[in-house]
């Protein structure tokens, strides 16, 4: 059976004139790519195309995870609100968006929203520096200069200072019971140190504004409409699921916990932060992980609108050009497997750390 399949494959490949193996990765690609985070020219190799596809996938996943988590938590808490109208609004949001296929949502945002926007000459402008048009979102670019590195270092320093301060405050709290305003002190450190640095070395970046020249914008950064449609659709879709997870997580903490905390004299804020949320997180984290994984996998739906990520760029264009079906599909699948496994390992580690320790 195995030999039969192998033999068939060999004959098929021979007839199509394809040599198997990964040598094709070094050949020159010879096509342009709409969005690349690292420099790319047409004569670059397929290996570099692969890298660009991978980076674009990671970019969408990263932005999507952050935005979906934010929106999902807001909607999830809104679903628990006592305010009738807020509650119902959140319910309608969840029920509408989680029951529409993500690919349909992506196509809708792309073909029915972003591509029907006016062209660059009639773009909607915000604050004089952000422009939305059918070419995407143009925004000011941060151009690095001599003062950039000191600024980055100062931010790192501030974070280190905050960590040390938190450790010291916790130690003192455990020893003496005296509370310390960690949040405000941390915020102050985070603002003051970089601000001092900016005063000494000058502004860390200068902003390059997009300007309308001829038929398109020149200068600044541009987010292509494919990226906008994809991130928006994935965020909206995944947030609906995250909202349900958050709601069930918070509801799973019994009301007795709130009452006990209140009777111990904790005020509503600390009750939420120190009693409810830590317990709710245990219920929330595992399903949240699988939603992140789903988002990473759903980013492959970009193939429907041609955003240049792993599937549409590598498994689509590169496969069509080279015909190396087995190698290309194998590489693509292993990338997704690697992303899946690393996210679940990371989340398992976190889950273990916060899991209930039973005696």
């Amino acid at each position: 059976m195995g030999w039969y399949l192998f033999d068939n494959t060999q004959t098929n490949l021979q007839h199509r004139g394809i040599t198997s193996g990964f040598g094709f990765l070094e050949n020159s690609a010879g096509f342009g790519i709409a969005q690349h985070l690292i420099p790319f020219k047409e004569s670059d190799s397929y290996a570099r195309v692969f890298l660009i596809g991978l980076l674009n996938t990671l970019l969408v996943t990263f932005i999507g995870v952050i935005l979906a988590t934010l929106l999902g938590f807001i909607v999830g808490v809104a679903r628990l609100s006592n305010n009738w109208i807020v509650n119902k609004l959140a319910t309608v949001y969840v029920e509408v968006f989680r029951n529409i296929p993500p690919l349909l949502q992506i196509l809708f945002w792309y073909f029915a929203v972003f591509l029907t926007l006016p062209g660059p000459r009639a773009a909607h402008g915000f604050l004089g520096s952000f422009f939305v048009s059918s070419r995407g979102l143009n925004m000011p670019a941060a151009i690095t200069n001599d003062a950039t590195w000191p600024f980055v270092i100062s931010i790192v320093l501030a974070i280190v200072a905050i960590v040390i301060m938190t450790k010291w405050a916790n130690k003192r709290f455990e020893a003496t019971g005296e509370p310390f305003h960690k949040f405000w002190a941390g915020l102050a450190l985070f603002i003051v140190i970089p601000a001092l640095c900016a005063l000494i070395f000058g502004a860390p970046v200068h902003w390059e504004l997009p300007e309308l020249k001829g038929f398109n914008f020149v200068g600044g950064w541009v987010l292509i409409p494919e990226l906008l449609a994809l991130t928006l659709a994935l965020t909206v879709y995944t947030a609906a699921f995250i909202a349900e997870i958050v709601r069930s997580g918070i509801k799973s903490v019994s009301h007795g916990q709130t009452e006990a905390a209140r009777s111990l004299g904790l005020r509503p804020g600390p009750t939420l932060r120190k009693v409810i949320i830590p317990q709710a997180m245990r219920v929330i984290i595992p399903p949240l992980t699988s939603q992140y994984l789903n988002l990473a996998k759903n980013s492959s739906l970009a193939a429907g609108i041609g955003y240049p990520e792993m599937v549409s760029l590598f498994a689509g264009t590169v496969l069509n050009q080279t015909g190396q079906a087995i190698e290309v599909i194998a590489i693509t699948m292993s990338v997704y497997l690697a992303i899946s496994i690393s996210i679940s390992l990371l989340m398992n580690w976190y889950n273990k750390r916060i899991a209930l320790i039973e005696r």
Binding site: I85, A315, L337
Partner: protein, 365 residues
């Protein structure tokens, strides 16, 4: 003798009862709540009136061509003109009654299963599950009893979406149950194989699976042998979905107390009878809501076949919106497709909640 008459009851205080009190309590209890209410009302005012006027009041309902759409709102004429394509794809016009008949047979055939008092439900259900797919296949595909053959490349629209979803779940269920049994098996080799299989399919996106089935499968086959495109997609979907079914079923099996396994073994039952008669009936009942969720996910995933060029509902809409006679109708088309998908998915999720409540009583003491 004086008779004592009660005074009529006073109305309840309006601050505690009645609509005003309800509004006060639920919308304006404190200043944060008031702010939230006002914000929500603003959002509603921003979204709902334009939406209503676009979809209903300003919409164009009658006509035959694009020129008939004169009002500012949606042009539903487009949907009315193309509804045949959206429902049946390129299925020949004069043969579409066969699709209708297939759907009616499914509804009529399945209806007795939902009647509570129906005797011999299990036998009826099983025979329906065996006979119906065969009848449906011959009705849709034709080629026997003098019915004209309709190649699967002509199938499309909502019909194709439903075909992929039903065949997908029908294939994935048994495979998933076997995988779940394998994952809980005592034999290490079988367990490793099942775990690898499940984790592999769960780790990759469905799109790459479809890509694989469309570009890699033909390479494995002998020269000149051509595989039906729909069949390739179905194989991919079944493999992919069976891994998810397996995980759901495994969850149910883990929830069965160990005593059940031990008691079944103590009765002298062999492995298959132990699983088939004791464990699986309980486990499957526990996970029915989870399985319905898998079906919903599968139904939404069927839209991905657009990537390998099958004309399901979504692709039919996309194709129709690209028609030069109907340019600019993308919004109407996608809203229509979204509505159809939404009705199916929302209906199924409500049914799953209903089942959950109905089945929940079984374990209450």
């Amino acid at each position: 003798m004086t008779s004592h008459t009660f005074k009529p009851d006073m109305p309840p205080p309006s601050k505690v009862f009645g609509p005003m009190a309800w509004i006060r309590q639920n919308l304006f209890s404190n200043w944060i709540n008031t702010l939230l209410t006002l914000f929500a009302l603003y959002l509603i005012w921003l979204i709902v009136p334009p939406l209503l006027s676009w979809t209903i009041f300003d919409a164009n309902w009658v006509g035959t061509t694009r020129a008939d759409c004169t009002k500012a709102g949606a042009c539903w004429v487009f949907i009315e003109q193309r509804i045949g394509q959206f429902m049946y794809g390129y299925y020949p016009q004069e043969l579409r009654w066969r699709v209708d008949l297939t759907v009616w047979l499914a509804i009529i055939g399945a209806a007795p299963l939902f009647i509570k008092m129906m005797p011999r439900k299990a036998i009826y259900g099983l025979s329906f599950l065996v006979i119906y797919p065969i009848v449906a296949f011959f009705l849709l595909h034709g080629g026997v009893f003098g019915m004209t053959e309709v190649a699967t490349s002509q199938w499309g629209g909502l019909m194709l979406t439903l075909v992929i979803a039903t065949v997908g779940i029908a294939g994935a269920l048994p495979l998933g149950v076997i995988l779940a049994l394998g994952r809980r098996s005592d034999m290490p080799a079988i367990r490793v194989i099942c775990v690898t299989f499940i984790e592999f399919w769960r780790g990759v996106p469905l799109i790459t699976v479809l890509f694989m089935s469309s570009v890699m499968l033909p390479l494995f086959l002998p020269e000149g042998m051509n595989f039906d495109k729909l069949l390739r997609a179905l194989i991919g979907v079944i493999m992919f979905q069976s891994a998810y079914v397996a995980e759901v079923v495994r969850g149910g099996m883990q929830a069965i107390p160990k005593g059940q396994y031990e008691a079944a073994a103590a009765m002298g039952l062999g492995y298959w009878r132990r699983m088939g008669l004791v464990i699986l009936p309980q486990a499957l009942k526990l996970v029915i809501p989870g399985l319905v969720n898998t079906v919903i996910a599968l139904f939404k995933d069927t839209s991905l076949v657009i990537i390998i060029g099958l004309f399901d509902l979504l692709n039919s809409v996309k194709q129709a919106a690209a028609d030069p006679n109907w340019l600019g109708m993308a919004t109407e088309g996608y809203v229509f497709a979204a509505l159809v998908f939404w009705i199916f998915c929302f209906g199924m999720s409500r049914y799953s909640i209903h089942l959950e409540r109905k089945l929940d009583t079984g374990h209450k003491r």
